[in-house]
């Protein structure tokens, strides 16, 4: 029997896997008949079947709060594993997915028996994929998303040590995990003699436990460094709507969701999640929100946790969504391939793309309509103060940015079920159906 199958049996006989699954921390598994894979199955010791997750996301799309939750789950699983004499083969962030705001571990094959004295093989990977990206934001105020997207295996200690402010060395954990690790890596690189010494060393279990415990306590306290307000975090409280107009908009969305009853609703431009929360309260089963503002995403994530909403807010620059990338450009699917919902909401979004990003109105409509068979799209006219703000410092080149043209474009792409003007500035909501 191959090593992996022996490990599989040993870990499962401990009952550890069942405990993780029962706690909702590991994706469930069923051993199924090998014949399900046909000839491929003949080689396999086991064939496992897992329930399908509703949506797949990647660490470069997670908010700071999401990445932090994932890091804590990883450490908790490590701690429980060590307790059960089980070790993890790696510490990749891609082994974690989200069900609503709750992280769940998905690689049930990365467990193997713990050998007394072994090192934490995934420590460096844990630093590169969790700690360093979190520190960028916590210590330097930089969001991890763009960097992580460009560097799929994470951010090295060396790189992180070059961008963190000098005073971050005063934190013991930052000093050791980033600065000292980078230095040790530099000074030991290529020294064959020290490699031999290193291979002979042992990490006592109590030391391993203390490292995990210390990291968990530290990471649990990390907070984004945000000195000033970001553009959109206060948008929900601070926009140009009168209360009554907001109520009209909410009633329209509630009516739409109530009648469509979508399993998965995509909320493009979700901000802090007001309309995702409304959709979940009026009949949607799961909401995936997208926004480019990091503080808004963090607020949305905290709201999802606090109110136990089946809602996951993710980072998206709509003008440059996650591409197909990684090995053979097929390892991590792009946004387009994954963003398929039963319904889509695009509220107060179109003007940002059409005016701030100079994108053609027709393409924006087609893009939104392609995501789900039904949806609600808001058109914000030029007379609205929010659009006026976008035009303040630039020439108005947008002759075809017009309510009538927009309505025609939507009408060409789908059937307009209902439309309603919801503000005195003539903001209009369109419910489309192309099914």
């Amino acid at each position: 029997m191959p090593v992996a199958a022996n490990d599989f049996d040993a870990v499962r006989s401990s009952g550890f896997i069942n405990e993780l699954v029962a706690g909702g921390n590991l994706v469930a598994e069923t051993i199924v008949d090998k014949s399900i894979l046909g000839r491929d199955g003949e080689q396999a010791a086991y064939v496992l079947e897992h329930p399908k997750l509703p949506f797949v996301s990647y660490p470069y799309e997670w908010s700071f709060e999401g990445l932090k939750k994932a890091a804590l789950l990883h450490l908790e699983i490590q701690q429980a594993a060590l307790h059960a004499d089980v070790a993890l083969t790696d510490a990749t962030a891609y082994n974690i997915q989200f069900v609503g705001p709750k992280p769940i571990f998905i690689d049930s094959l990365s467990f193997r028996p713990y050998a007394d004295g072994e090192y934490w093989a995934g420590h460096r990977q844990f630093c590169e994929q969790f700690i360093n990206p979190l520190l960028l934001r916590a210590a330097a105020g930089l969001a991890h998303n763009a960097w992580f997207r460009g560097s799929l295996e994470g951010i090295s200690a060396e790189e992180t040590s070059r961008v963190l402010p000098w005073h971050s060395r005063l934190s013991w954990n930052t000093f050791t995990n980033v600065f000292l690790q980078a230095r040790l890596q530099r000074s030991s690189a290529g020294a064959q003699e020290s490699i031999a010494k290193i291979k002979a060393r042992r990490l006592p279990r109590i030391g391993f436990e203390q490292i995990l415990h210390g990291l968990h306590r530290w990471i649990g306290k990390l907070k984004p460094k945000t000195d000033s307000k970001t553009v959109w975090a206060d948008y929900a409280q601070d926009n140009s709507y009168a209360h009554e107009e907001t109520e009209k908009k909410r009633a329209f969305v509630a009516d739409f969701v109530g009648r469509v009853q979508p399993g998965l609703i995509l909320d493009i431009g979700c901000n802090t999640g007001d309309y995702s929360a409304l959709a979940l309260a009026t009949g949607a089963n799961l909401a995936i929100g997208f926004d480019f503002d990091h503080s808004a995403l963090d607020a949305a994530f905290r709201r999802a946790e606090q109110d136990s909403l089946n809602f996951l807010p993710l980072h998206l620059d709509a003008a440059n969504p996650s591409p197909n990338q990684g090995w053979l450009q097929a390892e991590r699917l792009g946004f387009q391939a994954r963003a398929k919902g039963d319904a889509v909401l695009a509220l107060a979004l179109v003007h940002h793309l059409a005016i701030a990003k100079n994108l053609p109105l027709g393409q924006i409509v087609d893009w939104l309509v392609s995501m789900a068979p039904q949806g609600v799209i808001e058109f914000v006219p030029k007379s609205d103060p929010m659009v006026q703000r976008l035009l303040q410092l630039r020439e108005d080149l947008f002759d075809d940015y017009d309510g009538g043209i927009f309505e025609n474009l939507i009408g060409n792409a789908a059937r307009i079920v209902r439309s309603e003007t919801v503000s005195s500035s003539a903001r209009t909501l369109y419910w489309y159906d192309r099914s």
Binding site: R124, N177, R201, P204
Partner: protein
């Protein structure tokens, strides 16, 4: 290996006791990186050292408490210990 060596030797001394019973190869599915391994040794040494200091500190405190007779509980413990070792 550079400037951390002395620290490392100190840690290694503390580790000897803990490591006596340990034996296994460090096989890994991914390259853990030398920096990470050395760092883990240092962090573990410190953790073990702090643990030992705590232990000795508690023993020292008990010892002082016994000398001054401040702690009734410890007196009782001490009496029990004496009781368990008759004919000395």
């Amino acid at each position: 290996m550079g400037p951390v060596d002395p620290q490392f030797r100190l840690g290694a001394l503390i580790l000897i006791g803990a490591s006596l019973t340990l034996s296994s190869p460090a096989y890994a599915y991914l390259d853990p990186g030398t920096g990470s391994i050395i760092l883990q040794s240092i962090l573990a040494s410190i953790a073990v050292a702090i643990g030992m200091l705590r232990l000795y500190w508690h023993r020292f405190k008990s010892f002082v408490a016994n000398l001054t007779g401040n702690s009734q509980d410890q007196k009782r413990e001490k009496n029990q210990e004496v009781g368990q070792e008759p004919d000395l």
